[in-house]
Symmetry: C2
Subunit: 214 residues, 2 copies
């Protein structure tokens, strides 16, 4: 049997900063891997990697994400508040290194699109730039922000207003296959993973035992 | 080139409920796969699958998750509010079918541990039950709740108070390998995926080009 490591809150509080960052960032499980595109009111584009985008509801269609504007200046936060628009673009195996590079602290007048050779484009409706090299692209309007008091972090809530998706990723039963689209997942601070689907399970009814769909 | 599907907000609003659920649930990207364990004040245990646990901060160590207590009764919400404690347990390949089964709407007096043959145990400090069959187990104290007004959903914020982790998943550089621990990831409503790490990238300094660690 593998040996088990018990770690108390005191142990965590006594860790050095970098090992603590690496450990705590791994504990939520696998994370979404997205690029958020915005533009400021003078026309400078911004692109930033986020591993904190999550599902909030399907009717109305909502996504959440976590930003930290109170700790350091964050252009994504300023831009989406100023224009009301942002895009979420799934990171795939062809662009994950460029996506990771957007986590550098570039000045406000520098576009991460230029620094990484990713290509911006506009749909007309959505004011924020999409990433051409992403396969799954979502245009959102800013709706709500909530301040987590314990660490001055914001949860941002946005509504999905526009989608650009690969048509061949829809299965007959309505399942949308992000693995087929090449979407990656992140663990910890900086590890990138491909996925392999092992199962798709039925909706659970409490008077039935577990049923397999495939 | 694959054909691209454009979907507007009107298209989404006009979709039937189930296809919309399937599509919108896929859009955030890959999701964490966790079981949340709680106990009510009369001693009935509850266990429920969640794909919405996310990282909120490492100092203090915080995790967030999304609950929907305003839509239907949710025992997890009631219990963690009543006792102040909950556990987060990573789902692995050996238990994902049992984990999925906890999404059934069981009565309050029925423990999902009993219905799924997963095993509860207690650490002494944390009042909520852990899942013995999970490899990564986290004990948390409830800290904050935030109501998303648009759809009556709660973001719950908890502090990490205790960890039980496989000792052999720590790498020399402090990286904690959840893939080695067998942690799965979820896409959409009901698809389960294994992962394969493709890279681990360095911290980005803006005057350097992308550097590879392995």
């Amino acid at each position: 049997m593998d040996s088990l490591k018990y770690i108390s809150r005191d142990d965590i509080d006594n860790m050095d900063r970098v090992p603590r960052l690496k450990l705590i960032n791994a504990l939520s499980g696998f994370k979404s891997a997205n690029l958020i595109g915005t533009i400021n009111t003078t026309g400078v584009e911004n692109l930033a990697i986020f591993s904190s985008v999550f599902h909030l509801g399907s009717d109305p269609p909502l996504l959440g994400c976590i930003l930290r504007p109170k700790l350091v200046p964050r252009h994504t936060y300023d831009n989406l508040k100023a224009t009301g628009w942002y895009t979420i673009n799934h990171i795939n195996e062809e662009i994950y290194q460029q996506a990771h590079q957007t986590s550098g602290k570039y000045r406000e007048d520098i576009s991460e699109f230029n620094m990484t050779d990713l290509t911006s484009f506009y749909s007309g409706e959505c004011e924020a730039p999409y990433v051409k090299e992403a396969n799954i692209r979502i245009g959102l309007k800013f709706l709500e922000e909530h301040l987590v008091q314990t660490n001055n972090t914001y949860m941002i809530v946005g509504s999905i207003e526009q989608l650009m998706l690969p048509a061949d990723c829809f299965e007959d039963d309505g399942f949308f296959d992000i693995e087929k689209a090449g979407t990656l997942t992140i663990s910890g601070l900086d590890a990138y993973h491909k996925t392999k689907r092992i199962d798709k399970l039925d909706y659970v009814r409490v008077d039935k035992s577990v049923k397999r769909e495939e």
